[in-house]
Symmetry: C2
Subunit: 374 residues, 2 copies
């Protein structure tokens, strides 16, 4: 369409389409283009697309340095996804359903969609939306457990990459297709490692543990924009004990669904090489957490993304698994009362994930075989 | 007994026995003795009793000034309650069950026990404990909705009375005896006004609204002993919206049990003459709240008393009333996770109050007629 903004080098095939030109997507598109891949980049709002057009490309600094011109940069999602082998969705979880709806009419057989990350139940919900929207193409939906970079947009068309993750877990829905997804990703991103199924990526969700509860237990000073550090100031010994309670519930859900996930403490030990006997000591010992400011408003992703798209789906999975989750439920209800949003109704619940009424064994069969189709 | 500490003027009859020589009890005993009533004062630990013995009486300052010698000052509860017309219990709610157990063998027909205050379900729980302990004397148990003074112990045998409440609601269990309780209290305390039944005093509990939730939503800085004011700093617009959600649940429980209670906003308007359209504005406009420091530890009565003895019994009453209480439950569960205490199991639950399995109509009949006896 004439009114769509775009860079277009004319190639109809793409190795990757990046959905979302935010902190993560811009860095990912820039990196892939620098590596010589044919990359399309889509964003819903025109501003970042226009910036890249105006600046003539994407500019990266920090751990990845350089400049590159994507194949297409556009606000037309049909144009963006047409002919792409792998579609990397990098928008926040609250954008997944919208992106799935917009993308549904344009997907074709054999395409792979990867949510970076899916938070909890992302692939299930994305898949369910595609079905609801009448998409019958044979598309593989997968989810990562985290974003491969720590990066921030620092100017027009310019991203700073602060860090690159060593490993990112990925699983496809159904799990039988995970190997195809890993094969498609590995040449560009050797960090991606396959895990059992999307229950692992969905429950190995550390943001769910580290983000909402400290925000809630510091809600007054966040609401008043009092500056403090999220981890070092915001997580005291007692706050950490709530994190441990919530984390134990997360691990119990996974156990009941027969998938292996690490405790948050073990994750900190393994990821950062920290020696500590409890979560509080481990968090305080983690230098990567020093200097991370707390949000200055309760309208922040620690609440608006992590509660409805990590904790709410965990409640639904807990129900399927038959696990009690008083700490997770308390966090969801308190966040709802704080913000006036009914997160259980509006978030990623059993209905959004298409798992209403499933027993644990049915859910396992579903994520491994995708027996359910609509 | 020879080892008991006591002042004893030798009178076997007393107008009042005060249970608890803390901030409130010492002031109450001093006031009554100054007014010429025969007053016994009991405390479980010997220190305040010893202080009064050593100093030769109780000394009051502030809104009530003077000195007086009680009839008996003792750690022997049998000696303290024998022959007393009215027994005023002034210990925190977490002491009610212990006091009831200690007192049970010594009570006699016609005595009145008043909990100052009962928090939620105090009279029900005290009554249930007396029955469990085999007390068959015809005793009337009543509860006030608040303590008549704002007072603090400021030295050995010395209390400062900062303020005197204009009205204190009181109800007896059964409600048919409330009028006798008011008649017994009024000569000394004209502030006491009768209300329908103990569901009113139990649910007209403003501490339940104003204390635990702000403490929870400021838990990190309380745990870190960061100084701030409980009301003015600790209650932001979003925190106030959680208070409103919890308060609406409290009012709904009362409505379902067919007893009238005011909203917290109306209570602030009526008690302090504040004009405001919402709870946040009303709290900030209340000069009586300015300068009140937040707790400096989570081991504080805003948590350890108000959660198990106000919010937990409200959950049980909500169940009887068939009212959903997500905000109250969230606060209880979060407080439990923060402190490691299982407040629902250990607090004043349906079993403690002796109302397990009751329907709303049965509870109403019970508080009005006391049909249940053990």
């Amino acid at each position: 369409m004439a009114e769509e903004l775009h860079i277009d080098t004319g190639l109809d095939k793409a190795d990757f389409t990046i959905i979302g030109a935010g902190n993560g997507g811009t860095a990912m598109a820039g990196y892939l283009a620098m590596r010589g891949y044919v990359v399309n980049l889509w964003n819903r709002s025109a501003k970042p697309i226009h910036d890249i057009e105006t600046c003539g490309g994407i500019f990266l600094e920090g751990e990845i340095r350089g400049a590159a011109i994507p194949n297409k940069v556009t606000t037309d999602i049909g144009d963006a996804v047409a002919g792409a082998s792998v579609i990397m969705v990098t928008v926040p979880a609250f954008g997944h359903e919208t992106v799935a709806r917009l993308m549904a009419p344009h997907l074709s057989d054999g395409q792979i969609v990867v949510l970076n990350p899916g938070r909890t139940g992302g692939a299930l919900a994305f898949r369910a939306t595609l079905w609801r929207e009448g998409c019958t193409s044979s598309v593989t939906v997968a989810e990562a457990n985290t974003f491969v970079y720590a990066s921030r947009t620092v100017g027009a068309a310019r991203s700073h990459v602060f860090g690159i993750k060593k490993t990112v877990s990925v699983a496809a829905l159904p799990a039988t297709r995970t190997i195809d997804v890993v094969r498609a990703l590995r040449p560009a991103f050797p960090q991606f490692v396959p895990v059992e199924n999307v229950m692992v990526t969905s429950l190995d969700n550390m943001g769910a543990v580290f983000h909402p509860v400290p925000a809630l237990l510091n809600a007054a000073r966040i609401d008043a924009s009092v500056p403090f550090e999220h981890y070092t100031d915001g997580i005291t010994p007692r706050v950490a004990s709530v994190l441990e309670a919530l984390d134990a519930e997360r691990v119990s859900i996974a156990g009941a669904l027969d998938v292996p996930v690490r405790s948050a403490l073990d994750w900190l030990r393994e990821t950062y090489g920290i020696r500590a006997d409890n979560l509080y000591d481990a968090i305080q010992a983690n230098k990567a957490y020093h200097g991370i400011s707390a949000p200055t408003s309760l309208n922040c992703r620690y609440i608006t993304e992590d509660v409805p798209y990590s904790l709410v789906p965990m409640l639904s999975l807990a129900q399927v698994a038959g696990v009690k989750t008083p700490a997770i439920r308390a966090a969801v209800n308190l966040a709802s009362a704080l913000t006036g949003e009914d997160y259980i109704a509006e978030g990623r619940n059993a209905a959004s994930m298409g798992i209403t009424g499933m027993a644990g064994s049915e859910l396992t069969e579903h994520v491994v075989q995708e027996v359910w189709q609509g």
